[in-house]
């Protein structure tokens, strides 16, 4: 087991290297000149040349890549062309807001999606199954950004129930001091006992939460259902039933344990989709997370920022898959 984890980690490192390589080269295909961007819109040719030297763009590619790798390992993702601040710092600032959304979607995937899939598989071809399948397929066919807009239209414009966007009401942002311990608004406000902020943040979380949570639920429910259907047709399930084991046990213990592999894979996949969906959701709800950060970066063609976010997301995804693979390896068959 330990050997497996080690081997997988090694593979992960190689993959991360490949990711860095690809991102580096994609960035080099850039049509515009980063040095000019860095120097600013009114830079003189000398300033641009100086910027080029500063950014190390005159060195051969291999050296640039080497420096890039070294920087990566030490957590340096370069400097934003726009703000001249370290990308890593800006990332860390925007991260918690995004993590909130990702957490919501993960919870939804695991605690709503999986049970839905299980029940759907058990009640195959009955009403519950048809409804849940329609729901699943419907939900993954919805563009996330559109759902956000429609929710805003209905619940903000027409019904006035929920705010249009942002993490907090402007009123609160102006009048109150926002606690900033962990960076997680919900946590911080709870810790400091600031109830009003907590409720306000919660209220703002509803619409983005629904927007981000729908897709994972649909995806996970659908995949869990098919994984479970396959398992339920296996001989050992028939055998278990023949021994008179209660159906409840057969389903939630015998069958489910066998589905840990495909289920964790699909949960990891859904989180992967969520990563990009957060970008879209943040854009719609003006949510101050990484997505908004990259949106501004894309518009301003701020390449280090774009690259930084890409690498960061890719790395997180690789680690996520690593965890999923380790969970799969818990299957006793894989261990030997």
């Amino acid at each position: 087991m330990r050997k497996f984890i080690l081997r997988r980690l090694l593979l992960g490192v190689i993959v991360l290297f490949g990711v860095a390589l690809i991102t580096f080269f994609v960035a080099r295909v850039v049509p515009s000149d980063p040095a000019a961007k860095w120097a600013g819109p009114r830079a003189t040719p000398e300033q641009i040349a100086k910027a080029r030297l500063e950014l190390g763009l005159d060195k051969p590619l291999i050296v640039q890549f080497g420096k890039y790798l070294v920087d990566l390992v030490s957590g340096n993702l370069g400097y934003s062309l726009r703000t001249h601040r370290p990308v890593t710092l800006e990332l860390m600032e925007s991260l918690p807001a995004t993590v909130e959304l990702v957490l919501i979607s993960t919870f939804a995937a695991v605690f709503v999606g999986i049970p839905l899939g299980v029940i759907s598989a058990k009640q195959k071809d009955r009403l519950v199954d048809h409804l849940s399948r329609l729901f699943s397929i419907g939900v993954v066919s919805l563009p996330t950004f559109w759902i956000g807009l429609i929710l805003q239209l209905v619940f903000f414009r027409m019904l006035g129930l929920f705010p249009m966007g942002g993490q907090l009401s402007t009123e609160i942002k102006i009048t109150m001091e926002i606690p900033r311990i962990t960076g997680f608004l919900m946590l911080d406000s709870l810790i400091t006992g600031n109830f009003r902020i907590f409720v306000d943040a919660l209220w703002h979380l509803v619409l983005p939460g629904i927007t981000i949570g729908l897709y994972p639920v649909g995806l996970v429910a659908r995949m869990t259902r098919s994984a479970l259907l396959e398992i339920l047709s296996e001989d050992y399930i028939t055998a278990a039933r023949s021994y008179g084991l209660k159906e409840r046990v057969v389903l939630w213990s015998y069958a489910l344990k066998n589905s840990i592999g495909p289920t964790s894979t699909v949960v990891a996949l859904s989180i992967g989709y969520t990563l990009v969906n957060t970008f879209l959701t943040e854009s719609i709800f003006t949510w101050p997370g990484i997505g908004s950060y990259i949106a501004t970066a894309v518009i301003g063609l701020d390449y280090p920022a774009i690259m930084g976010v890409t690498i960061f997301s890719a790395f997180s995804y690789v680690i996520l898959n690593l965890i999923a693979d380790i969970i799969i390896a818990l299957d006793p068959r894989v261990r030997t």
């Binding site: 993959v15 049509p31 774009i306």
Partner: protein, 297 residues
Amino acid sequence: MKWLSDYYKTLQPSIREFRLSFYLLNRNALQRISLIVIGLLVLIAIFAPWIAPFPSHAISETNPQDKLLPPSSRYWFGTDELGRDLLSRVIFGTRISLQTALIAVGLALLIGVPLGAIAGGLGGAADEIIMRITDVFLSFPPLLLAIAIAAFLGPSLQNAMLAIAISWWPWYTRIIRGQAVSIRERQFVRAALAIGTPMPRIIFHHILPNTMAPVIVQASMDIGGVILTVAALSFLGLGAQPPTPEWGLLISTSRTYFLNAWWYSTFPGIAIFLTVLVFNLIGDGIREVLDPRTRKF
């Protein structure tokens, strides 16, 4: 040219199987409806200039005096900020979405399938290298690579298609490779090797046709996802550019106005939803039919 007709003959069993599955698809009412709707969409896409009431609105003409009108008998879907008929633009959007999806998937197949066949067919070093590259590409969260590539190549619909193709091909390579590996062990391949058939012929004549089925299934299921991706890219400004009436772009532009012009966001979104839905339903149906365990008979 004979090799082309020979090749067609070796594909026959797969084609027959495909035809059978196609027929079986029609058994479920929901599937039948989806199939019909897809047919309708294709027709709309092809005949867009004749179906749309104001075809020129979809291309370049603007009509500022009729801007932001709600749906009426003249403008069924209302108008946008430049007075253009939304219905016509959405209709032309069908054409764009379907075209883009087909090209993107086609490109991805063009890259991914041969790579997978080579990896699976040759094995050894070629296999390792190709699969490691595939792994790296697959380590990116879905869509992220497409966004990054599109961002760096420059925003345009063509670049979006390219970006999607580049981020999608590894899936197909993986599927083909898995199939190829198991086919490689089969008797008829070994027989071909034994009589000295050159490797490329073995790969492309013997192995490839037998591996196509799951990939065709996957590709047809992917069309829905690709349409969504193109829309998402355009929404972010990385795909279609104005004045192209691409659905995602329409929704993105609508953001400025939609609170007071609900039709602007709603109709393109419904178009995306319905299109992706029917493709997903068909994909699901195809999958159910081909998997013997979920067959009802």
